[in-house]
Structure formats: structure tokens, C-alpha cells
Symmetry: C2
């Protein structure tokens, strides 16, 4: 399947996600050849390790003989490593530049060729200021009629349907139970199923399960109807946010990229995410609360990264033999048995840590949600960068220096800035074999598991055994899921980091990394084409993050090499490395200026071109009808299949967008009659007339 | 003079500049009272220094008895310092918040009440891509007619008149000489003035000065005429930049704040600076060159800050006695004289350093110019922040730790991050008397010199003696200059830094700082009202920088206090300070989000309001005529008084903005006829028709 077809099939996000693996291959294959051709002979033809093993009885593996450890102190051969560090940096930057260029172009082409979609015309307005005279809907309409007179088309207010969504979810669950009990009854009509009303069906009154669920559902249905009524009519359930649609992409692009009001904390406009990408719960967070949340999460993440070992250690101490015996003396006879004892001593502490690491992405996701992002894609992007940081501190540095992050933090505070790279750098060559094992266990095996869908398979069977009650449940349990950017991408990035750090130090690691990238590319390509469902489409908005993290890895590798070489007393050659991080950071800024805007902004020329084309192709399209109800809370959409609310609801929506003529409106909207005004905004009155009156 | 009148009289820049001093007074007066009421008794009632002087014969001044040095190690009294650090931070942040709010409001009101000025309607477009078929002017016109169809009005291309400007300047100088010789001749008609044509009139042929200058001027005039011809007609002298004017402020605001083209490095749009604020030389720098220049200047500034002592020391060694005797042995008899010897030994090294420091702002300004800023105001802002950094490293840290910046850098690299605040912190109380002297010598005396206009007076008399030849020269020499943001503001910031750092350490310094701020406020207010000329008006665009630097000073003071307290073994109270920098940095981000946009963006609501008002007040105004020639290179404007070029020139400008119908134009501008197009951009054809045809 060629790339354009892949984009059609699975979206640009997936296609560009695959390119990350390809970038890895592109960067590391030439580097591997170069390093094996030059550095391996340079390292191997020394005999430092041989001598060391003779004198001090130090054992060294063959891999170490290929590595920088084999070069004696003060050797002139370190010039080779310095030169190759330059070569690697230039090659990596070149590949990254080309990739960024290509991805930016792909994104622009994707956006340009994309079919008409509501998010192209729509802007999300948040923090609509409260007004005693007008409702949110009226206020939004008046504001945009005044300030974007030629372009404003329609808008949809955002309802606070969080409670309603909870109720609907509850009802669905009960309906599922009802189906289950009905099935049970129909299989064995002689015995009516009973249940207890208490917690988990363990205690409470014994009641007929079918009747009980039936009445409960009826009760809930009434509650839902009441809540719907309330949401639709109570002005308090309207959030101070709205999706404002424009007649043209040009108008939407202008509104999304400019500041509307004098006060930059109200009338915040931004591109609306795709309808399926919206994270509805966060739409109503006010500005001050957002900044406070950022602070809280920043501090929380700091503690999570550096002090997460403290609660883990506490739980581990509880999960130890003595801890258990102390906390629950009645378990003593069980625990004292030999087999159980060894399980507890050997596995339990590890399992506690592993469980934490499994839940880490979820914890990070909750943190991002609390921080107030409004689209799933941005939630995943933020979680991904936090996960990367966590991995870097706890897995990379943790494995190299061996010690909890907290101990590292402590020693870093008390070490000089020039000591830190030395401490880490000197430990790097020794850990090469560990990381090779890591690549094979975590990387290769992970990919193998991925192709077998091992994790979903296990989860499916667990669910099937414990939770599945009806056919519908089984279907849901079989959902293969989506790509999972927030966990997958940081994992790839870790291999970039390993590759760059070890390229000049222990070239033997490179083939393993290349195999990882190649295998992963093939496997994920297969999964994307055949297995995964796409959850949303952000048009590769994550690439600047990916690019930035690869460059971070490059800078880290340069600094660590400097540290390593300075412990090797290569005083002549080391200073020549100082220019590398400076150049790399400058390259990052250059790329940011050159390409990032393609991922953040939407050029007016593009918008105008697309508008003009569309106008020529489909002259008579009813944009308003198309955009009217594209951003409805999913709970309203989902209700189509189980009751009659939808029609009533859509009528409500219809009514919603009609102007309620107030005193203020007439004052605000009447254009000042003048010649200049006639020339510069000729369609202001037209726009108002065009708008449906009651 | 109340503030509104001051703004009318001297512009918002000056009024807000004064507010910096007022902010200083507002911050430090309550802090001084608080500190004197609480900390001074806390410090004074100890007897550490008394004991020390008895035991170790250490002398201490009275000021030290008020300071933190007098509190014994491990004392519980340090809780007082910690508490006061919190109080100071909260008070300073409160004042800064109020000030930021007020200044932002002032700026918005100033912009709203400002009279019509060309920069409100005009956007500077840079990096217009080269096109083989069309000239820059045609290209700009077509691009904006297509992409801003309802709003585009007219444009002016930018000519590369740098050479012309040099010629005109040369001619003026010669004319000045001619006037001088004519005066001389008319005073003494018996003797015709002669001159030599060589360097500085020292050698060469002896010629009649009046004739010679007359013929030279004539030659130059011809050259200038030829150059003008060339600039006006040669397409190569048109830079790929243009000032594009719009019909409304709304249109300009939209264009200035959005991205135009898919490629973010071409069609760069930004608000045009005021005509008198434009720095013409930098308008044509391409994007890649800009990023490279930034890198070069960044590296150069790093070396300037940390290694400037090396060339200075070299020059000082030359300027020493032995150096001079070696370099110029013939001076030996002169140098050996006692008086000259002592002058050389005592003053010369200091003078070399002082000369460098005098020229430093000029050097920084040249660096900013090289970096490619396009307005004088941004040049000054950038120079100011560099100057502040330089002062911080070389004056503040340099005075405290005593050692060149390079030595500091070296020791900081080899010290741990927790050691650095300790090293500096422990030295702070000892330097209090030095800084009090500094405040009196540099601050107070500087203000006294300012009110006497001492520096301009000396310069004026020097110029009068050496350079002034005609009346015109004398007038120019008497120019009092403008506020000089790039040197003045960093100097004020230095006193904020001193105030915050010493508030908890040596409260005795605060009254000196308050007197400085108060005096400076009165004096500069007088100068601004009566003396200075305003060079440009940036509507207080510098306030975010000022705010940021005050907060930086606050954070530095907190970190240094932490360092100091930890050397005092106040292990219990010190950790409570850690939250302070975090909170302060968060406050900075909060303010940035809350207010900075008022200084960077222009809200559409404001633009629309102002457009509507203006349309109502002055319906029939000819905007095009008004904007047609507002951004002409000053060299064309200046030429009005000395030759007939202007008329011809303005005709040229007229011709310039007329559409030259090309094949491409018709293809590009014809709107696709369709119903939708008719509705959404009804004035596209109108806009084209409205545009004058040849």
C-alpha cells in the first residue's frame, strides 16, 4: 500500500506515525555503516581492556572491545570520535530537516485536499464573559455579527451535559444487565433469576432481577428525560463557550488566529478540534483556573518523576513478608508456606512497581485532563511528552547511574554542572550490554507481542471470563483500540536516545536498534492497515514534538560524549565538541521558525484558495444547514437509537440559532451609514438579513 | 502636569518610563517600613558581631549591626527573614500586577484615542518571493488583492536607498563646509580660503576651498541625481519588502496577525512601525540570513559578556608603562617623567575600562542592528536587555564575588548548583557598604548630572570647540537627545535588583534606593517635560520587558537568600523558601498570559470599534491619498528642500501603484463566478475596479 493510499485508508496521523520509525532507519543505517567502518577498527586495534584483564583481572565482553572503553587514556584516537560526533549530528539534522519539510508538506496537502469538514469553518470560543442582559447564545451572535460582519454564519452553544452523560451511561449498563437476566431466564424458564440489591449483589434484599432492573431503568429514563429538559431549558446549563461557524475558511482562519477582545482572557478563540476529537468535559474552565491548574500539575509531575519511588517503596515494604505478617497476622500460616513465601519475596515487589508503570500512562492522562486541554489529540501529545521525561529520568538515567531518581536529583544538586555529564558519561560504556538486552526484551519482544495483539488478547480473555455478559459486551471487548500515541511515541523516542548516545561509544548497539526500527515499521504498518481503528485525526499535529524530542536526544548524547571524553583525559579534542550542542539548538530554532507554523497556523492564502475552489465546484451549497448541528455533545447524538428525544432536540437547536431581537441588538448591529463603511463592509446589512428571523 | 497631559505632551513611552521609577517607590517604601520595623530589631538585638570583634578582632561597621550578619548561626530568628521574604514577594507581585494592569489599560486607551496615523492601517510585508514574470510591486498588489480582497487599499515598495542616503549625507557635509568657507571669506574678503585635498586637509594639492567645494558639490549632485534615477527605475534597487495599507484597521489587524503563505518564511507580515520608528537599513534581510545572524550575535554576546576582560587586559598591558616603552621606544624620555608616569600608572588602565563601558551601549546597539530588527524601538529594547545581562554578570556578580566574569564562569561550571547561591549569598552582606557607595556615586550623582545635563553640556562644548563650523552645526550640537531607553532602563533595573537582594539582608540600603527612585522620578519628569525630544512612540511596548526584569531580580534575590540562609545553618527555615521562586515564576507566566497580548496583538474588537467611529465622524475621507506616501524613505523626504526631485518622485510613486495588466493578473484576479462567491466576497470585482487603471 503506497503512502497516499495509506493516508486515505488510515489518516495522516497514522501515516506520519509510521514515518517516525522510517526516520529512525534513515538516520541510523548510514550512521551504523560509518561507525562500523571507522570507529570499530579504531577501538578494536587497542589493547587497553586486554591489558586491564591481565593486570587487574577485569573481565570484559567482546562488545566492550569494540567500544570506546578499549581506547587508552589521552589517546589521539579520540579525534576520530569527535569527528564522528560531528558527522552523526550533521547527518541526523539533515534527515530531520528533510523529514520536517516532507511532513509539513504532507500536512498542508492533506489539509488542502481534505473534504469539507465542519472544523475547517468553525472556531471554538471560550470564556464568553457573563452578561446580565443577554444569554450566552445571543451574546456570541451579537459579538461576531459586530466584529466579523462579513464572515459570521452561525454558532452552537455548549451544554454542560456531564451529568446527563453519566445517567445515560448508567442506563446502558442496567439495560445490559436486563438483557443478561432475560437471556438467563429464557435459557432456563423454570427459575426466575434473583439478585440482592446491596453492594456487588452480596447483601441486601433479595428481589426478582428482571423486574428490579426493569423498574430501575424506567426510573432512570424519567430522570434522564428530566435532566434533558433541564439542560435544554435551564440557562445555567449552558457553558460560557460556543462553536462559531463562518461562511468561509478565510473567515474562520482569521478569527482563530487573532485576538478578539481587549481583555485577552475572554473571548478566547481557537480552531475547533474535529467533532470526534473534542474533549467535552474541559470546555468551560475559566482562564484563571487554567493557569492555577497548570501550576498544580507542574508541581505534581515534578514530584511524580522524582519521588514516585517513595510510595512504591512503602507499598513494597507492606507487600514484603514481615510487612504482611504485621499488617494481617491471620495470614501468617498461609504466608509461611514455602512456595507462597518465595513468590512473595521474589515477585511481589517487582509486581508492585510493574503495576505502577502500567498505570503510569493513565495517571499522566488524568493529569493532562485536569490541566484543561480541550481535544483528545492535545491530551495525548501532552501525556506523551511527560511520559518521555519520566522515562528519561527513571529508565535511562536510572539504569545508567543505578539509583532512584530522588537520589540522582540529590547528587545532581550537589555536583557541579561539569561533573554531571562526567558521572553519567563514564557509566555509559558499562551499561551497553544491559541496554542491548533491554532492546531485545522490551523492543523486539514488544513488537512481537504487538503483532500477536498479545495485550489486547489477554485483556479480551480476562474480560470475556469476568465481565462479558451479553453479545454487546463481547463486541465491545473485541475493540482493537487505536494507535495510542501517548504511550507508543515516547517508547520510540527512547530508542533514538539510545542510538545517539551509543553511536560513538559502543557501535555494537546500533544493529539492534536498526532491527527494532525496521521490524516496528513493518509490524505497525500492518496493524494500522488491518487492525487499528482511528480515533481522531489531528493531521500530524504531533510532528514538532517528535522532532523536538529527537533533537533533545541528540543534544543529550553530545553532552554525555563530552563528559565521557573528559574523563578519558582527551583534553585536546574535547573542547571541539562544545560547538555541537550550540549548533544543534540553533538548528532546532531554525526548524521551529521554518516549519512549525505549518502545524500551528493556517495560512490565509490556503484558506482563500480552498474557498474559491469550493465556490466554483459547488456554488449552491447550504453551508448553514451543514454546520448547524455538527458540534452536538455526543450524548445528544447517541440518544437517537433509544428514544424520541432527538427530534425534539433538533427543533430546540433550530430555535436556538434564531435571533431574539433585543434592545441591545438593534443598537449594536445597526451599521453607521457612511460612504466609507459602504465600501469597506458592503455586506453587513445583507448578512443580518440573510440570517433567519423568527 | 497630570499624567494625561504628560502623555499628550511627551507621548506614552515617556509617561510609562516615569512609572518605572514610581513602581520602585511603591514597591520599596512599604517594604522599607516593614523591614525597619521587624528585621532591624531582630538583627540588632543580637551580639554576634560584637563577640566576633572581641574574639577575632574583626571590625564591623554600624550598618553591619543592622544586617543579617549579626544573627548567630542556627538562630530561630531566621524565621523572621523567611517570613519577610514572603511578605516582600507578595507585595512586589501585587504592585507589579496592578502596574501591569494599569499600563496595559493605558496602552489600549492610548491606541484607542490615538489620532489616525498611517501605522494603524499599514502592515510591513517582508521576504516577498522573487518572481520572474512580475515586479515586486505587481506581485504584492496581486497577492493582497487575491487574499485580502475586501480590505486591501494600496502599497508602497521599499527602495534600497542606502547608497543614496550616504551620498546625500556627504553632500550635506560638503555644503556645510562651503558655508563655513563662505563665512570666513565674507568676514575677511582680502584672503580667499585655501585648503589641501588630502587626508584631513594635511597634505595634497592646495586649492581654493570655495571653488573646490562648489565643484565637489556639483559633482555629487550629479551623482545623486544619477543614483536617484537608478533607484527609481532599476528593479534591482527595489527590495523584496513593501508597506501594504488597508482600508480599515480591522483589515490591517487581520493581515498583521495571520500567516499569509504556506511557506512561513515568505510573505512575512507584521505591524508597520511608526514611519519615524522604521530602521530602513534592515528591511531587506532574508529569513535564513536572519536566523544565522541571531546565532552569530548570540555567540558574540556570550563572549562579550564573559571574555570582554581579555582584550581590555591586553590594551591595559599595552597602556602600562613597560608596554608603552616596548611598543614605542621613542616615547621613553616623555614617559619617564614623574607626573606623566603617575598618570599612566594610575589612570590609564581605569580609563581604558571606562572607555569600553562608555562605548558598550553603542556596541550592543550595533549588535542589535546586525541582528536585523526593523524598528528603532525594538533595537533599543533588545540592547536594553543585553545591557542588563551584562550589568548583572559584570557589575553585580563581579562586585560581589570580585573576579572577572570569566573566572566566575569557570568556578560556576566547577561548582554544584547548590553551591553557587551559597558562594554569592555569603558574600552579599559584606558588600552592602560598597553598594551604598555605588548608589550614591552612580545613582544620585548620575541624577544630579542628568538635571544639569552634564554629559550633553560637556559634549556640546567639546563639539562647539572642535567641530562646529556654522550656525546649523551649532543647532545640531544643541540637540538634547531623547530618553535613551537602552541605557537608562537597565540602570534602573540594577537598583531594583539591589533593593530586592538587600531588603532582607541589609535593610540599611533601602532608604538610599528609595531616595534614588524618588529623586530620579522628579528629575526625569522635569527632563521629559522640558528638555527631551521624543524620537519615536512605541506606546509603552517595553513594559513586558521591564516587568520581566523586575521579576527576574526578585527570583535572584530569593535564590541568593536561600544560599545565604543555608550557610547560616538555618536548616529548619530555609526549605520554606523553595516555594517562592516557583510561585514567582508562575506569577510571571500568569501575567504574561493575562496582559502581554495587549503589547503584542491588536484585538479585532478595538479595531472594529475605531473603524466604525471614524466612519461615522469623517465619512468622506480619502484614505488612499492619506496613506499613499506615508512610508517614503527619509532620504526622499529630506530632498524636498534642496532640489526639484520630490515632484518627479511623487509622480513616480503615483505610477508605481497603478496596475500593470499582465497575462498573469487577469488569470489571478478574475473571480470565479458563482453564487456563493457573490455572497461571501461581493466586493472583489469592485475592489479591482475601484483601483485606478492607467
Amino acid at each position: 500500500m503506497p503512502e497516499p493510499e495509506l493516508i486515505d485508508h488510515a489518516g495522516l496521523d497514522s501515516a506520519v506515525y509510521l514515518r517516525i520509525y522510517l526516520t529512525g532507519v534513515k538516520i541510523f543505517v548510514p550512521i551504523a555503516f560509518l561507525v562500523w567502518a571507522i570507529l570499530v577498527p579504531v577501538n578494536f586495534t587497542n589493547s587497553t581492556l586486554e591489558l586491564a584483564s591481565k593486570i587487574a583481572n577485569v573481565t570484559s565482553s567482546d562488545i566492550d572491545k569494540f567500544s570506546i572503553s578499549n581506547v587508552p587514556l589521552r589517546s589521539q584516537r579520540f579525534w576520530g570520535h569527535v569527528l564522528l560526533a560531528y558527522a552523526i549530528t550533521f547527518w541526523a539534522c539533515y534527515v530531520l530537516l528533510k523529514e520536517y519539510e516532507k511532513v509539513a508538506l504532507m500536512r498542508l496537502q492533506f489539509l488542502a485536499s481534505e473534504k469539507r469538514s465542519p472544523n475547517q469553518f468553525t472556531v471554538l470560543v471560550r470564556n464568553v464573559p457573563p452578561d446580565p442582559d443577554e444569554s450566552v447564545s445571543e451574546l456570541v451572535e451579537h459579538f461576531f455579527l459586530v466584529n466579523h460582519p462579513n464572515h459570521y454564519l452561525t454558532h452552537q452553544v455548549v451544554y454542560n451535559a456531564n451529568k446527563l452523560a453519566t445517567l445515560v451511561k448508567k442506563k446502558k449498563k442496567l439495560q445490559n444487565w436486563l438483557v443478561y437476566y432475560n437471556n438467563k431466564y429464557s435459557r432456563d424458564p423454570s427459575k426466575r433469576p434473583f439478585m440482592k440489591t446491596g453492594f456487588l449483589g452480596l447483601w441486601g434484599n433479595r428481589v426478582d432481577a428482571i423486574d428490579h432492573h426493569g423498574s430501575e431503568i424506567e426510573k432512570l429514563s424519567k430522570e434522564i428525560a428530566a435532566e434533558r429538559e433541564k439542560v435544554a431549558n435551564d440557562p445555567k446549563s449552558i457553558m460560557p463557550a460556543a462553536f462559531v461557524s463562518f461562511k468561509t475558511r478565510w473567515g474562520a482562519a482569521v478569527c482563530a488566529q487573532t485576538q478578539q477582545s481587549r481583555d485577552p482572557t475572554i473571548w478566547l478563540t481557537d480552531w475547533a478540534p474535529e467533532p470526534r476529537d473534542v474533549y467535552w468535559e474541559n470546555l468551560a474552565i475559566p482562564y484563571v483556573s487554567l493557569t492555577v491548574r497548570k501550576l498544580i500539575i507542574g508541581v505534581a509531575f515534578f514530584f511524580l518523576t522524582f519521588f514516585f519511588m517513595i510510595p512504591i517503596a512503602f507499598v513494597q515494604s507492606l507487600a514484603s513478608l514481615e510487612g504482611m505478617e504485621k499488617a494481617a497476622p491471620f495470614l501468617k500460616p498461609v504466608v509461611e508456606k514455602k512456595f507462597i513465601k518465595s513468590v512473595i519475596q521474589g515477585f511481589l515487589p517487582g509486581i508492585v512497581l510493574k503495576l505502577f508503570l502500567i498505570f503510569l500512562p493513565t495517571i499522566l492522562m488524568i493529569m493532562s485532563k485536569f490541566e484543561g486541554f480541550i481535544s483528545l489529540s492535545s491530551l495525548e501529545r501532552r501525556s506523551a511528552s511527560r511520559y518521555y521525561l519520566f522515562n528519561f529520568v527513571n529508565v535511562f538515567l536510572g539504569s545508567i547511574i543505578a539509583g532512584s531518581a530522588f537520589e540522582q536529583l540529590d547528587s545532581f544538586i550537589h555536583q557541579s554542572p561539569s561533573e554531571i555529564p562526567k558521572t553519567i558519561g563514564v557509566a555509559i560504556p558499562m551499561k551497553a550490554t544491559f541496554f542491548i538486552t533491554y532492546i531485545m526484551v522490551d523492543g523486539w519482544a514488544g513488537i512481537a507481542g504487538e503483532i500477536l495483539m498479545l495485550k489486547p488478547l489477554i485483556i479480551y480473555h480476562l474480560k470475556n471470563f469476568f465481565l462479558v455478559k451479553t453479545e454487546k459486551d463481547r463486541e465491545e471487548a473485541m475493540d482493537p483500540g487505536s494507535l495510542g500515541f501517548n504511550t507508543g511515541e515516547p517508547r520510540i523516542q527512547f530508542y533514538f536516545l539510545l542510538g545517539f548516545v551509543y553511536a560513538t561509544v559502543t557501535p555494537a548497539i546500533l544493529p539492534f536498534i536498526i532491527i527494532f526500527f525496521g521490524l516496528a515499521y513493518v509490524v505497525f504498518r500492518h496493524q494500522i492497515i488491518n487492525v487499528y481503528n482511528q480515533e481522531y485525526e489531528s493531521a500530524a499535529a504531533f510532528w514538532p514534538d517528535v522532532h523536538g524530542r529527537i533533537l533533545t536526544a541528540l543534544v543529550i548524547s553530545q553532552v554525555l560524549l563530552m563528559g565521557l571524553l573528559s574523563t578519558k583525559k582527551a583534553a585536546l579534542s574535547t573542547p571541539f565538541l562544545i560547538a555541537l550542542p550550540v549548533l544543534t539548538i540553533w538548528f532546532h530554532m531554525f526548524c521551529k521558525g521554518r516549519f512549525e507554523s505549518a502545524f500551528v497556523k493556517y495560512p490565509l492564502q490556503e484558506a482563500m484558495m480552498k474557498d474559491t475552489l469550493e465556490r466554483a465546484r459547488e456554488p449552491g451549497i447550504n453551508m448553514k444547514g451543514y454546520l448547524q448541528s455538527s458540534y452536538i455533545h455526543p450524548v445528544f447524538k447517541a440518544s437517537v437509537d433509544d428514544d424520541e428525544y432527538e427530534e425534539e432536540n433538533s427543533e430546540n437547536w433550530e430555535k436556538e440559532s434564531v435571533i431574539v431581537p433585543t434592545k441591545r441588538q438593534s443598537r449594536r448591529n445597526t451599521p453607521v451609514p457612511s460612504r466609507v463603511s459602504g465600501a469597506s463592509s458592503p455586506s453587513l446589512p445583507e448578512a443580518i438579513q440573510e440570517h433567519p428571523k423568527p
